[in-house]
């Protein structure tokens, strides 16, 4: 008889499903089965127990081979690298707990680092836009209980947030939405005929990169003003119809993703999406929610917010916090050759930064803290594997709507492995020793 752990929180995406059930072996050591999770979440739990998993830090030798070292040695190397550097980058912070992020913030402050999280290649545009125009939003439960107009703009939850539609946005039978998906009009805006678009009542297959124009046209249509015949490849009749659909709802919500944040226009695309939402509030109720990617990228922005006042792109090198995306953002710092060390935790810039930036990481002293072997670990000088947060250690994480949920420990990590918070604490202590000695 397997042991079942309930109310398990999935540490994959910003949907942060908290209803997983995990079946363990009798001795509680092995994960046998994961219920309720999507394919990605289930894989994350099951793969954590892979037999070929790295369990000790390793340091790259001159010849490119790897040599096992102790956690203390790894912490010493990391601390020295950070203390010696004039302008180290401490990047990532999205696949870890808020308490680890808190310790990381103290290290960054001690050594005068540039600190950035994965928002910088994800919803950084959104954070900037929110600073420009604000953001009328709501928790995902508000949407489940009230929303009857649901827009997915430049996002594809069927693939990227697989349980989003069933838990929150399309299918749930909420308090005021008792008929589930039948209570809702679903609109998808995407240049591809995505699996999400295939489910929609209306799919606006716009020309890629013309989101600003189309959003602007919707604002015009909401106000009942005149439009040209075609905007961004969409006919004006269809734009008026969509505007009417949105205005006639009792509660409209726009979810948006990388389709808008990554395309030219960047934060301006989000500005105007937020402005559409603002405008709709003059007619009905409307909210807008970014589809945040990593399960705790949101938390990282929150922790830095209350400690430093800014959600990403922090430059602490002058002793106080500065914030200036374009200047203090990871990719710009890397490409401009401003950094002299790179520390990565809870993210994989090797896979997800433009290759020009990755090349720079490869040339610098670098430490990668990640349970997996990744392109980042491959180009780093030191790789420190740690326990999986949300599987082998608990900790707080913030959902895409900023709701904090505590992830659970389901099994023990392999013997002798540290959590990232424990490792960071070692580094922090060592940094303080080194600075005290200086």
């Amino acid at each position: 008889m397997a042991k079942i752990v309930t109310d398990v929180v999935c540490p994959f995406c910003g949907t942060l499903c908290d209803d997983l059930e995990v079946a363990l072996s009798d001795d509680g050591k092995e994960i046998l089965e994961v219920y309720n999770a999507c394919a990605i979440g289930a894989t994350k739990f099951l793969h954590s127990q892979a037999s070929d998993r790295l369990t000790r830090p390793q340091k790259k030798q001159e010849d490119g081979s790897w040599k096992e070292v102790t956690y203390d040695e790894a912490a010493d190397y990391t601390a020295k690298m950070l203390v010696d550097a004039k302008k180290p980058l401490m990047y990532g912070w999205s696949s870890t707990s808020c308490s680890a992020q808190g310790v990381g913030a103290e290290i960054g402050e001690e050594v005068g680092a540039c600190m950035d999280n994965t928002a910088t290649v994800c919803h950084g545009s959104t954070l900037i836009a929110v600073q420009d125009v604000g953001v009328p939003s709501a928790t995902l439960g508000e949407i489940a209980n009230r929303a009857d107009r649901v827009v997915f703009w430049g996002c594809n939850p069927a693939h990227a947030h697989p349980r989003h539609m069933s838990r929150y946005s399309i299918f749930p039978r909420g308090f005021f939405t008792g008929k589930g998906s039948k209570s809702r009009q679903m609109i998808v805006v995407d240049p591809r005929n995505t699996d999400t678009a295939k489910m929609a009542d209306v799919h606006l297959q716009l020309e890629q990169g013309h989101d600003y124009e189309l959003l602007s046209a919707i604002r015009v249509a909401i106000r009942g003003e005149k439009l040209p015949d075609v905007v961004a490849g969409i006919s004006k009749e269809q734009i008026y119809e969509v505007a009417d659909t949105l205005k006639s709802g009792r509660f409209a919500v726009i979810f948006f993703g990388m389709g808008v944040t990554h395309s030219l226009g960047k934060n301006h695309n989000i500005d105007i999406a937020i402005s559409v939402t603002r405008d709709l509030n003059d007619y009905t109720k409307a909210a807008i929610v970014p589809m945040r990617g990593h399960y705790n990228v949101t938390g990282s922005g929150q922790v830095w917010g209350w400690q430093f006042g800014f959600p990403f792109c922090l430059d602490l090198t002058r002793g106080f916090a500065r914030y200036n995306p374009g200047d203090s953002s990871s990719n710009d710092l890397l490409v401009r050759d401003e950094l002299d060390a790179v520390f990565v935790l809870g993210s994989d810039p090797g896979a997800h930064f433009p290759v020009r930036s990755v090349k720079k990481i490869a040339q610098l002293p670098s430490v990668c803290i990640d349970p997996h072997i990744t392109p980042t670990s491959a180009v780093s000088k030191m790789h420190v594997p740690v326990a999986f947060v949300g599987v082998e250690v608990g900790g707080c994480a913030y959902r895409m709507d900023n709701v904090p949920i505590e992830t659970k420990k389901v099994v023990e990590p392999p013997e002798g492995m540290l959590t990232d918070e424990e490792f960071l604490q070692l580094v922090l202590n060592r940094v303080r020793e080194l600075k005290g000695a200086a």
Partner: protein
């Protein structure tokens, strides 16, 4: 633990009737003791200085999701004011919404020992507690919001006080909350549909209950439980011209209700930031808008079971933030600045808008005047507390400036004559011109220490220098005999405590922060009789309408509340 003896200061402690006498104050093992009970104490020479119990803030927004949204969406609030760490201190930043570190250091420098976070959305309780945990030095608690909660709306529609009380007890335990906050009762739920409740008798859509029923029911449930703090209300139609009638309607709901508690609390209703609720007239224009502070405070003077805090406008650029979602939407249409909003499933909502209280406008000056009037019309200063509803009417760091205005008619006249563009018009439309009262240091101690401690149900710990209370003492570089010549000295002194002892630890020494203290999180654990119906309702709502499971709702564990101070309340009898 070091013993301390604070010698030769002018001591103000209304609880003991000490009014500027030179009395020695002694601290041993973290508590106040008789001066004779300390051996080999460290002596603090307070000659020529003012000594009071550490201050108690009954209402400020300093931790939690909307506060942090205020930080993150306003990088401009940190322009030119981020500072490096030094000594024990870490980096700081922010003016109207400071980082948690700056909040703590500010409170310490202003001589505070306790602060109540004024609105905690229950679903976001973990966030509030994470910020409180990272705010060193001061003790804090947080008030969960109840005024738009579906359980409360459903129970109070049927006037089910016992069920409401059982739910409140459950939620305080789940969220590690301190008491009952009620923001725009019914209005924020209506805002779920883009609507509002503008009077106490407007009906909440679908739930078919009125703000009057909500306020009345929450007061009753609060007294049924016997919580340390009373029901803490932000009424309907905040900030609207002509709203004073609605405020009086709200206050009158408490008529005849007697406090029931073991904490020495004498009021049953606390009306927060009264300034925003004392407006007459029909628009913000100077020919229509007028102050109704006298009418409202006179009513409060005529009863004995209501307290309030001022919410004084400090004429700064600040960041407004409240669980009153529809109000913030309305405000964003007035100033066309950025607007953030978050509606919270089954519970509440919130909005955030930057705001500039421009002294060159009539309305900002009138609001400034009304806030001060609320502090000057009070007969019993034990029931009127000085706040800026930080950061809504003004930033936290402006408290000392507000003291100056309250304590000096000269400082007020200077504002009306020289700083405010429409000073004469404001004298005409408000009562400020007819008030020459100056709050004394003794009264200040009531309005910032003894009073708020009593209404929070914490007078057995804070607000006085009586032996047995917490060793929380502030020493200000203000000589009440010689410094009365210049009101600026008041502002300087109360923003730059020479010493702060908190829980028996020396935190501020000669104006410098030297210790991060032993921060505690206060929460109230109310025991009620088993209530299967409420338990069933809770599990049902989680199963069907919440997006987190019931088990994942509970705030638990040392990383959220590492150093709790739990106040036990037994309502099973």
């Amino acid at each position: 633990m070091t013993d301390y003896l604070i010698k030769n200061g002018f001591v103000f402690d209304p609880v003991q009737g000490i009014n500027g006498d030179k009395v020695d104050v002694a601290i041993k093992d973290g508590k106040i003791v008789d001066a004779g009970d300390v051996t080999n104490p460290t002596i603090i020479d307070a000659t020529g200085m003012t000594v009071m119990a550490a201050a108690v803030d009954i209402h400020a927004h300093v931790a939690g999701p909307k506060v942090n949204m205020g930080r993150n969406f306003r990088p401009e609030d940190k322009l030119f004011n981020c500072t490096a760490g030094s000594g024990m201190k870490r980096m700081e930043g922010g003016f109207s919404v400071p980082t948690v570190l700056r909040t703590a250091y500010l409170y310490a420098r202003m001589g505070f020992g306790f602060s109540m976070e004024a609105a905690m959305p229950p679903l976001y309780a973990r966030h509030t507690h994470e910020e409180i945990r990272d705010t060193p030095i001061i003790d804090q608690g947080a008030l969960p919001v109840f005024g738009n909660n579906w359980f409360v709306l459903e129970y109070l529609k049927e006037n089910e006080i016992e069920n409401t009380a059982a739910y409140i007890a459950w939620l305080l335990n789940q969220t590690k909350g301190f008491g009952v906050k009620c923001v725009n009762p019914g209005g924020t739920e209506s805002w779920g549909w883009g609507l509002n409740c503008e009077t106490v008798d407007d009906v909440v859509p679908y739930f078919d209950v009125t703000p009057r029923q909500i306020v009345s029911g929450l007061i009753e449930a609060n007294e049924y439980l016997g919580l340390p703090h009373c029901m803490h209300v932000h009424g309907n139609s905040l900030g609207e011209p002509g709203n004073y009638g609605i405020t009086l309607d709200t206050l009158k709901i408490a008529e005849g209700v007697k406090p029931q508690n073991d904490f020495g609390r004498e009021v049953v209703l606390h009306n927060t930031h009264l300034q925003f609720h004392c407006y007459g007239g029909e628009s913000y224009a100077s020919k229509s808008f007028e102050s109704k502070s006298k009418e409202v405070v006179n009513y409060i003077n005529s009863v004995d079971n209501i307290s309030y805090d001022l919410g004084v406008v400090t004429l700064d650029e600040t960041t407004t933030m409240t669980a009153d979602g529809p109000f913030e939407h309305h405000l964003s249409h007035m100033n066309n600045l950025k607007w953030a909003n978050t509606d919270v499933e089954l519970e509440t909502g919130s909005g955030i808008v930057p705001f500039i209280y421009n002294p060159k406008t009539f309305i900002a000056g009138a609001q400034w005047a009304i806030g001060l009037e609320c502090g000057l019309f009070i007969k019993d200063p034990m029931r009127a507390y000085i706040t800026t509803d930080a950061p809504n009417a003004g930033p936290l760091c402006r408290y000392p400036r507000v003291y100056k205005w309250l304590m000096s008619a000269k400082a007020r006249d200077d504002m009306l004559d020289n700083t405010l563009k429409y000073g004469d018009k404001i004298r005409e439309r408000c009562y400020i011109g007819e008030l020459d009262r100056e709050i004394s240091l003794y009264e200040l101690a009531m309005m910032t220490r003894a009073g708020p401690a009593k209404t929070l149900g914490l007078s057995h710990m804070f607000g006085s220098l009586k032996p047995g209370l917490e060793g929380d003492v502030a020493v200000y570089p203000y000589n009440p005999e010689t410094d009365t010549d210049d009101p600026e000295k008041i502002e300087y002194a109360f923003g730059n405590a020479a010493y702060l002892i908190k829980g028996g630890k020396l935190i501020v020494k000669e104006g410098e922060i030297v210790d991060m203290g032993n921060k505690r999180t206060f929460w109230v654990n109310a025991k009620v009789n088993e209530n299967p119906m409420v338990e069933r309702d809770i599990s049902e709502k989680f199963r069907r309408y919440y997006t987190v499971t019931q088990n994942n709702y509970t705030v638990e564990g040392p990383h959220f509340v590492p150093n709790p101070y739990v106040i036990e309340v037994d309502a099973t009898k």
